[in-house]
């Protein structure tokens, strides 16, 4: 696909053009953390953010999503789709990879129509990271680069210059919304390549899986009865924060709500988490993962094995959000994967 050059001063015009049709979300700083927030000309865009506090999944798989609307008297119901076109600007490769993974699991088998509808109305614009958060390890779980899943991909190659890779026809059209922009030269493409390389080296130097990511499922397979699950989970508060903050977690609960006149209501889904105590509990009280160690293990097996068995890649993209958010300091997948591997090599 083609590569173009966009200068910083052109951005405001582009953004204004896009906002005629789309809601535009860009990384912005709030009290020391970074969030994707709606763009306004006054907004200061954090091109050098290290990590978005919230995972971008919330824009396509919102924390609460209405599924149907029902009438309690007639028992008629109809589906609800509340979607507006949106652009997510500035996603790092690992977050795009997480969305690609959600695309796959949501389309698999019974297509999740609500997710699909939102996804089809979302433009993804990637951005090469300029900084790395201290908890990140995306450099060693095959999440430092994405070949697809974006409409445009931006790399800052100079103080006021971006190289823009085109990922889709729609993306290119958006880039030309105010007229054509310059094509990138091979020298400029080389600078972008080096910029990407530099940041990958940086994250790899900082935190690293001690073995190939493709070995993780096999390491887990041999570690089902490891002491680690009980030892770590002893401190687990069962708060579910690691689930909510995870860009690839997509478990949900389905609930009803009724208006104050008991005439009409809505059925909606809301994020749920396998770390919550009642997640696998059935009527009658039996809990299929009643112990914290079982729930804790389940989460890492999902990230490191079950998703791999389905898709051929890890369900962890190494963003570091769970590491950051866990108050008990037990949620570091890198540490879990490394410790298990070390224990196995010791046994050998």
């Amino acid at each position: 696909m083609s590569n173009y050059i966009v200068y910083l001063e052109q951005l405001e015009g582009l953004f204004a053009g896009w906002q005629e049709k789309y809601k535009l979300f860009v990384p912005q700083e709030k009290e020391g953390f970074y969030f994707l927030e709606e763009y306004s000309p006054e907004a200061e865009i954090s091109f050098d953010y290290d990590l978005l506090y919230n995972p971008p999944k919330s824009f396509i798989f919102p924390p609460r999503e209405d599924l149907i609307e029902f009438d309690l008297k007639t028992y008629k119901s109809k589906p609800l789709f509340t979607v507006s076109p949106q652009i997510l600007f500035g996603l790092h490769p690992y977050d795009i990879k997480a969305l690609n993974q959600l695309d796959q699991v949501m389309d698999m088998g019974s297509v999740d129509v609500n997710y699909r509808q939102r996804r089809d109305n979302t433009i993804i614009m990637g951005l090469t990271p300029l900084r790395v958060c201290p908890e990140a390890f995306w450099g060693s779980v095959n999440a430092f680069n994405v070949d697809f899943g974006f409409d445009l991909f931006w790399t800052k190659i100079g103080p006021a210059t971006f190289l823009v890779e085109v990922g889709s026809k729609k993306g290119e059209e958006l880039l030309f919304v105010n007229g054509r922009v310059d094509k990138a030269t091979s020298a400029e493409r080389e600078v972008a390549r080096r910029k990407k390389q530099e940041i990958v080296s940086l994250v790899q130097k900082q935190n690293r899986l001690k073995y190939s990511w493709e070995e993780v499922p096999r390491v887990l397979e041999k570690s089902f009865d490891s002491f680690l699950w009980a030892e770590k989970s002893r401190k687990c508060l069962a708060c579910g924060s690691c689930n909510l903050i995870c860009p690839t977690c997509y478990c949900f609960d389905i609930l009803d709500e009724v208006d104050d006149k008991l005439n009409k209501g809505k059925r909606y889904r809301t994020w749920d988490g396998c770390m919550l105590e009642s997640f696998a509990k059935i009527a009658g009280g039996h809990n299929f993962r009643g112990r914290a160690a079982e729930r804790y293990r389940h989460r890492y097996f999902r990230k490191g094995k079950y998703i791999y068995d389905m898709l051929g890649e890890l369900g962890c993209v190494g963003c570091g959000r769970c590491v950051r958010v866990c108050t008990a300091r037990i949620a570091n997948p890198l540490e879990v994967f490394n410790v298990l591997w070390e224990a196995l090599s010791y046994e050998r």
Partner: protein, 276 residues
């Protein structure tokens, strides 16, 4: 936006009859308002909606019938949805999604002996298969039914079980774990019934549903008799929420009970640590 298809929109059904099966369990007969049969197979489940209360999965206990559109579920009053369901009057509306999930492989059972092992409420999903086979009795070999209940008060479908005991083409054995003064029959857990039936392991399939604790013991006994693992079918209970393989609640290791199950051949789950 115009109405698009969503799998979360239930069809409307009407409660046609209610029958108390025990102090805790009631049989509910529904008919879909669209006049169509549910088109389920034995072992499958539906998601039943009571708008404003919620949705819950229930095994279908009636056999598949193309000739009429009524279907039955049997429900223990235990949570919010089941309590509200028990409060419904005949004529009330409910929502139905499904049928969902895998089912017992009826084609494999043809001309074979089938051993039913029903622990407690496990008789409910098995009854769909059992009654289907009884309706097509000539197609199958021996039908052996083992029923185990915690105590005589919790027995369900007593009329049907007593009626079957009188038949010569069905072998029925029943036991309770803790008897009371009314109980004259077998006492003990369900595995104590197995030695009492003469089973030909080469021609017998097993269909088993019961509380989580039951499976391991019964499967071990079946293997001791010489029944091949490939001939053992189980149905597993989990907390199905979406029924579509997405929400994660019913996951057993890497599989989803709602789409990969609830009926499994034992060989499919033998290596799954979380299954039984």
């Amino acid at each position: 936006m115009k109405d698009k298809f969503s799998p979360y929109v239930p069809r409307v059904a009407t409660l046609k009859a209610k029958k108390k099966l025990s102090d805790f369990v009631t049989l509910f007969e529904f008919a879909q308002d669209n006049g169509k049969p549910l088109a389920h197979r034995p072992g499958q489940f539906i998601q039943l909606s009571l708008f404003g209360i919620g949705e819950a999965p229930f095994s279908i206990t009636s056999p598949p019938r193309s000739d009429h559109h009524h279907f039955e579920i049997a429900v223990r009053k235990i949570g919010t949805v089941t309590t509200a369901l028990h409060n419904l009057e005949v004529g009330a509306k409910v929502g139905v999604r499904g049928p969902y999930g895998s089912y017992f492989p009826m084609h494999k059972f043809v001309e074979q002996d089938v051993l039913f092992v029903a622990g407690g409420l496990g008789f409910i999903p098995l009854r769909s298969l059992l009654n289907y086979m009884l309706r097509h009795r000539d197609e199958y070999g021996r039908i052996m039914v083992l029923v185990g209940t915690r105590n005589p008060k919790e027995r369900i479908f007593i009329d049907q079980i007593e009626e079957m005991k009188k038949r010569t083409d069905v072998e029925v054995l029943e036991t309770v774990d803790s008897p009371d003064e009314t109980w004259k029959g077998n006492v003990g857990v369900i595995t104590t019934l197995l030695p009492k039936v003469k089973i030909e392991p080469e021609s017998t399939y097993v269909a088993m549903v019961g509380p989580p604790v039951m499976y391991k013991f019964v499967i071990n006994e079946c293997k001791k008799i010489g029944i091949d693992e490939k001939r053992i079918y189980v149905s597993l209970e989990r907390r199905m929420k979406c029924g579509l393989g997405k929400c994660g609640h019913c996951q057993i290791n890497g599989i989803n009970c709602c789409v990969d199950g609830p009926v499994f051949c034992y060989t499919e789950i033998a290596s799954l640590e979380e299954a039984i």
